[in-house]
Symmetry: C3
Subunit: 312 residues, 3 copies
């Protein structure tokens, strides 16, 4: 069964990017392969862009959409097998997923990392529980370790705007007051590795990404050096993988500024903390691509859903 | 005015069960008697199956659907008449219900028992308040004392799977860490009394169901004896009616096991606590009907909504 | 760009009122100028009537609707410019609004007064932030200082029911246990000033409305005198403007009674606290227009949305 769990589920990235352009607003009447089918979106975590863009994309494809905030409107799920369920979890994911699969032809799941137990987060209990038990295709709307809809929107944004055959793309860590997951940088690195780009990753020591997820890479600890000659600078905070989920560094020297950005175009998945992650001048300037990235979330959701609907 | 408040609102159960089969997925293009009409679903309590299956059913019938979590998205309602509303309730149900009736052609209401005051719960203040004031047909999506959509799905499940003219159906109480309402067993017993089945009810002493709701019955306190020769075993916890809302018994000896189940088919309305109410081997085995029951929730909602839409 | 932020955005009130009558249920097949477009409703505060009637109106116009409870399903927004966002706000309204504008053709915003800082509330940070950054028309679903959809529904109600060319309309303050915003009375006064009515405003000393918002007016402190010969009595509590957000008076003598009402018709925007703001006999009697007001909320939303969709 097809799923869209990671960027690896994109069979041919060049074809997806090409098709993405044909879906842009104003490109003619869209096909509606979703007519008569139902997509259920399950949010285990809060969401703005994903919530709205995925619904928008689904309706454009003709899908009926059911939205549920699982924690607030439902109850806690048990993920472990074999336990005596006498605690806080009212239902096992085996039943919950299989039941939702009775009502929906496709299921979208958003479930973040807890950031306290690396093994637990890596297991992607909720996402993989739905894959295992739901019996229908699953759409990853950001999981503990990946955010492929965002990565695909980012790839669409670069493909759409680049003036070079092989632009230099820099992923640059930034400080943040809270501990954040690594889902976005993981998926961004993965998809960039399949793009005709020169990818450079810069972050402080102790912030290396998980090689099991993104492959081995040579980090550049000198941000200035990394940014030299950049065409795109993707800024993002994440918490430490090695000292799992901890904030080791809040050095404002890592914040992105107009001066550091130079001639490059600025990217961020949003939400972004102004003057902490990036200064106002960058976000408010003409080199910011953040709104185009957000707009492309509708296209990436259309692409992923179309892929899942395409059952021959 | 027609309502769907209890299984008593099913005029002819055999006809409903027969019609239910014609609605199953793949049975051809459904009629859409709801086109141009609006159903508003009001949740005073959390919900998974009811939330999704009722929306699904409504859209299949062509209804527009408005969903509202009344407590979280609205405010507390006053149910008493004549009070000075200077406390926590911002609106009287008289206005709230009549207002929703201005926007919706049908209203679904889910409002559980509080389990602290039996007289209050029996009065079904919220459900009956909507019946009294809304001016449109009301659909019971589980109230303090009944869950007729679940019972109808259960009846559909037995009708669809039975190989006998008069199968033996056993309702068997099970332990649970928390105090649960009696809505599901009440409605299950009521609908089984109208089915060609041999119904046996087994529970510990102190757990007798309300005779005003289900009629007088002879409980079997010996679970083993009750289960002998069963074709269907419906397992469910409920709290005491006599010592209202209290948990009197957590004896794990009442849990359903594969050994006890024998050749019978297993039923539960879900959510279910594994290895507390029923052991894994039963839920994961081929005799479990729980997913079919859940799938039939869409059919029971279609039947009830079609009934409410059928105004001649 | 067109917006619907206050009753001032109604270009010709007589024409809107006339058109409103043609939209009433049963007036023939409605036009669907919203087909192929999306309305996103953002709730920063709870809502019953506005939530349901605006969705209903939008679907009648053919709009797709996305609903989001911004606080519960998203996160806090930063409204200040130039701050270092190291606190509780995860996203600046500049990005949030612009992003929603990527997915929606129209945005509805509900954001109440905080009632602790008059200057802050007057600035209407959230509403005006969306106007400034979203890039699409904004619909005010009740802001800190105004509730134009309610005022328009009230005007429709008076226009539909009056038997006089110039009825006497009295806005009468009422006691309430909690501090409430002035949004409803502000907009009601503004729209009544454009209607062929004789408007009288009565409230205790200390409860004068903001002259910057409603213009200078001569309050009548003697409720009995104000009510003399009234055709419509609009009852509403609000907190003090001068001692901002404070409850100065809970005198039950200001409650509306059947005796005080006399022959007049009773109006209230709801929710209303019975026997605190108005006695049961009034709400339950034949002179109450509250349900007609609520029903007219669908019409006022249809009018406002049609206005915003009409881009030539």
């Amino acid at each position: 069964m097809k799923h869209f769990l990671s960027t690896d589920d994109i069979d041919s990235l060049p074809e997806w990017l090409k098709k993405g352009r044909t879906l842009a607003p104003g490109s003619g009447t869209p096909e509606q392969p979703g007519l008569g089918k139902t997509l259920c979106l399950l949010f285990f975590n809060n969401s703005l862009r994903t919530r709205l863009s995925t619904q928008k994309a689904a309706r454009l494809l003709g899908l009926e959409v059911l939205v549920m905030n699982f924690g607030a409107e439902g109850w806690n799920l048990e993920l472990e097998d074999g336990t005596i369920m006498d605690g806080g979890a009212a239902e096992h994911i085996a039943e919950a997923a299989a039941v939702v699969g009775q009502y929906a032809d496709l299921i979208g799941v958003r479930a973040f990392a807890g950031l306290s137990d690396r093994t637990l987060d890596s297991a992607e209990g909720i996402l993989h529980g739905f894959v295992k038990y739901a019996g229908v295709p699953i759409l990853n709307m950001e999981s503990a370790t990946g955010h492929p809809l965002q990565a695909l929107a980012d790839a669409l944004t670069i493909a759409e705007t680049t003036k070079k055959t092989t632009p230099k793309v820099v992923l640059s860590w930034a400080p943040h007051p809270r501990a954040l997951p690594q889902a976005v940088p993981n998926s961004f690195v993965r998809i960039m590795q399949r793009m005709p780009v020169d990818l450079v990753i810069t972050h402080p020591k102790g912030y290396g990404l998980d090689a099991n997820l993104v492959g081995a890479y040579e980090p550049v600890y000198d941000q200035k050096k990394a940014l030299d000659g950049a065409d795109y600078v993707y800024v993002k905070n994440w918490s430490s993988v090695q000292e799992y989920g901890r904030v080791l560094n809040r050095d404002p020297g890592w914040m992105m500024t107009a001066e550091k950005l130079g001639e490059a175009q600025f990217m961020h998945c949003l939400p972004v903390r102004r003057n902490m992650v990036v200064e106002d001048a960058v976000l408010d300037g003409p080199q910011s691509l953040v709104l185009k990235q957000a707009a492309n979330r509708t296209l990436s959701a259309q692409l992923a859903l179309t892929h899942l609907l395409d059952v021959q």
